[in-house]
């Protein structure tokens, strides 16, 4: 244990963390220029799932709300982009904030009546929600969603005259959004709001007794998490140039849930690591493609046994205590 304590102190030295961040950034930035198109695409998906994971991390990691229907918000963002772009010709990039807003608005409407549910009950309702959204998309209400075939022909995004086309372009687009979201989330974590969220997660009743507005804060977490998923939906729609209900199944929600828990609840680098694992796992096990989800299921259970707090848990308590001493 003493050794562990020492290692933690070493890790928390500021220059070590800064150096680590710089190396990670350098690797991220240089990666597309050294890797093949295929692996750049894999890198794009890591970014996409990191974005989805960061969104779910607000809901599940920070506030501890079991949300197993996060794919629904992703689908809402993607379909918003697809429909508005194909029907009304609004530029795809301009729809990035719109998708986030629509997903967030729907999240508010949907979660408003169910936010008081706890634990497993909320979990089941969000699964049902995810299914409802997917079934509605398949049933093609008003001819809007195109039924099982989805919507095709989404225009490529254009930034200042530069058409985003190659895997490298999309790689940078998604990682830029991830970076912005991660920074925003980091600021939130260190704010009063972040502490209130964590308080709710640790003990909801005590938090309420201390005057934390549990209901509004939970709703806010849902809305922010859904907004991130909406962003991911826009980028996904732009990348694929089509959306269909097949992309937003329950297994996707499961994957996002696993990303947050594999990485460690409330941990930003953990979430990105989790996304990398979830995306890379099928790539590494491609030779045994038929069995890869089988192994994934086993790996999920094994991780929960060996590292129940996730692979890269947030060092909350130490940081907090040491901060106290320094002050």
């Amino acid at each position: 244990m003493r050794w562990l304590g020492k290692r933690r102190a070493w890790c928390s030295k500021k220059w070590v963390r800064l150096a680590f961040l710089v190396v990670a950034l350098a690797l991220l930035l240089s990666f597309p220029f050294r890797a093949s198109r295929y692996w750049v695409d894999v890198g794009f998906y890591v970014g996409l799932y990191a974005l989805l994971g960061l969104g779910l991390n607000v809901i599940l990691g920070e506030v501890g709300l079991f949300n197993l229907g996060h794919a629904a918000f992703w689908a809402l963002g993607a379909y918003t982009t697809a429909i508005l772009n194909v029907r009304f010709g609004i530029p795809t990039l301009a729809l990035l904030p719109v998708s986030a807003l629509v997903a967030a608005g729907c999240a508010w409407l949907i979660s408003f009546p169910i936010i008081h549910l706890r634990g497993d009950y909320l979990c089941i309702v969000t699964i049902a929600l995810g299914e409802i959204v997917r079934l509605v998309l398949i049933n093609n209400p008003g001819g809007l969603t195109g039924g099982p075939n989805g919507v095709v022909g989404i225009a490529r995004p254009v930034i200042a005259g530069h058409v985003i086309r190659t895997p490298t372009d999309f790689y940078f687009l998604v990682w830029a959004v991830v970076a912005i979201c991660a920074l925003a989330l980091r600021q939130l974590q260190r704010s009063r709001l972040g502490r209130a969220w964590n308080y709710i997660r640790e003990d909801e009743i005590a938090a309420e007794a201390m005057g934390v507005d549990v209901r509004s804060l939970k709703l806010l977490a849902f809305v922010l998490g859904a907004a991130a998923a909406g962003l991911a939906g826009n980028i996904f729609a732009a990348k694929m140039r089509m959306v269909s209900p097949d992309s937003f199944t329950f297994i996707e929600s499961c994957l996002m849930f696993s990303i947050v828990l594999l990485g460690g609840m409330g941990s930003i680098p953990g979430t990105i690591l989790g996304a990398a694992l979830v995306v890379l796992f099928p790539e590494i096990f491609r030779p045994v493609a038929q069995y890869r989800l089988l192994f994934f299921g086993l790996a999920l259970a094994a991780t929960m046994y060996f590292r129940p707090g996730g692979l890269w848990p947030r060092r909350r308590t130490m940081e907090f205590l040491m901060g106290q001493v320094e002050r």
């Binding site: 299914e131 049933n139 299921g297």
Partner: protein, 303 residues
């Protein structure tokens, strides 16, 4: 009127499937407060084991004992195999993780669900398998235009009998009292000398066994099975569990019947494509207005 009666019969038949599977969820949830996500896939495993016995033992058992002997053999094999799988999953994936916390246990359950459904795909292949006519009791009674299949009667009767036995076991025997005690408070029950591992083993053997029977029935009723079926039925059965009130046996049955009828009636009168939307919307309404379910007791929140 005829449509109504026919949909009522269909609804009751699917109700039995849901009630069977719902019981497995309910038993495990009552004891461990854990949603056993793998339960739906255990139900799928039952359907596949039954199929395998029917196909490979058709010549041997079928010729000696006839169709009914074959059916009994298939059901028993499916129930035993699935109960064994349920116990194995409990031992490997839940018991070591459960004390750590509820979230890791949920993730482990999800992992087991993914593992099991892909195991089914790896062993039996990704395509639909057909239950052949030769091992489905095919007769029916015709009253005017109203048709009752013997299979439907079989399903309804066996669900009534099995669920009745289970109800008696849990509500009227000493072992049943132990189960209820563990469900109320595990630690106190253990202090009173109740071997709660035994109760847990019972839940993880009985639930999947009942689920397996439902799985074989579903295969016979719809004549085809697929490795993804566990997820669909699992989710709906869980919906039924919550509608009836999680953690009690009559609740699971009532929820199953309610869900089956709702589904059959929406399919018959409104739209088959939208029936699942109605089912899940009903679940949400139920949770908003009566989160404890129809027969659930009001439980005081523990601080």
């Amino acid at each position: 009127m005829l449509t109504f009666l026919q949909q009522l019969l269909n609804g009751l038949t699917i109700s039995s499937f849901y009630a069977f599977v719902a019981l497995g969820y309910s038993l495990v949830y009552a004891i461990l407060k854990l949603i056993n996500f793998a339960h739906g896939d255990l139900f799928g495993l039952g359907a596949y084991v039954g199929y395998t016995v029917f196909v490979y033992a058709f010549g041997v058992i079928g010729s000696v004992l006839g169709l009914w002997g074959l059916l009994v053999a298939g059901f028993v094999a499916a129930a035993l195999a699935t109960a064994g799988a349920g116990l194995a999953i409990e031992r490997v994936a839940y018991r070591p993780i459960y004390p750590i916390g509820r979230l890791p246990a949920v993730v482990s359950a999800l992992g087991m669900s993914i593992f099991l459904s892909n195991f089914l795909m790896a062993v039996w292949g990704p395509r639909y398998l057909a239950y052949q006519d030769a091992f489905i009791p095919g007769g029916f009674w015709q009253i005017g235009d109203f048709r009752i299949r013997i299979l439907q009667v079989l399903i309804l009767l066996s669900s009534l009998v099995l669920l009745g036995i289970l109800y008696f076991l849990v509500e009227r025997t000493t072992f049943g009292a132990a189960i209820r005690a563990v469900a109320l408070d595990r630690e106190t029950a253990a202090l009173m000398g109740i071997d709660f591992l035994r109760v847990i083993r019972f839940a993880f053997a009985m639930g999947p066994a009942l689920g397996a029977i439902a799985g074989v029935f579903v295969g016979m009723y719809y004549r085809q099975i697929n490795f993804t079926m566990g997820w669909v039925y699992g989710l709906k059965a869980f919906t039924a569990t919550i509608m009836g009130g999680i953690g009690n046996i009559p609740g699971a049955m009532v929820g199953g019947v309610l869900l089956g009828l709702l589904e059959a009636m929406t399919a018959g009168y409104i739209s088959a494509a939208w029936k699942d939307v109605f089912v899940f919307a009903a679940l949400m309404l139920m949770l908003i207005f009566r989160p404890t379910g129809l027969l659930g007791e009001k439980v005081a929140e523990k601080v």
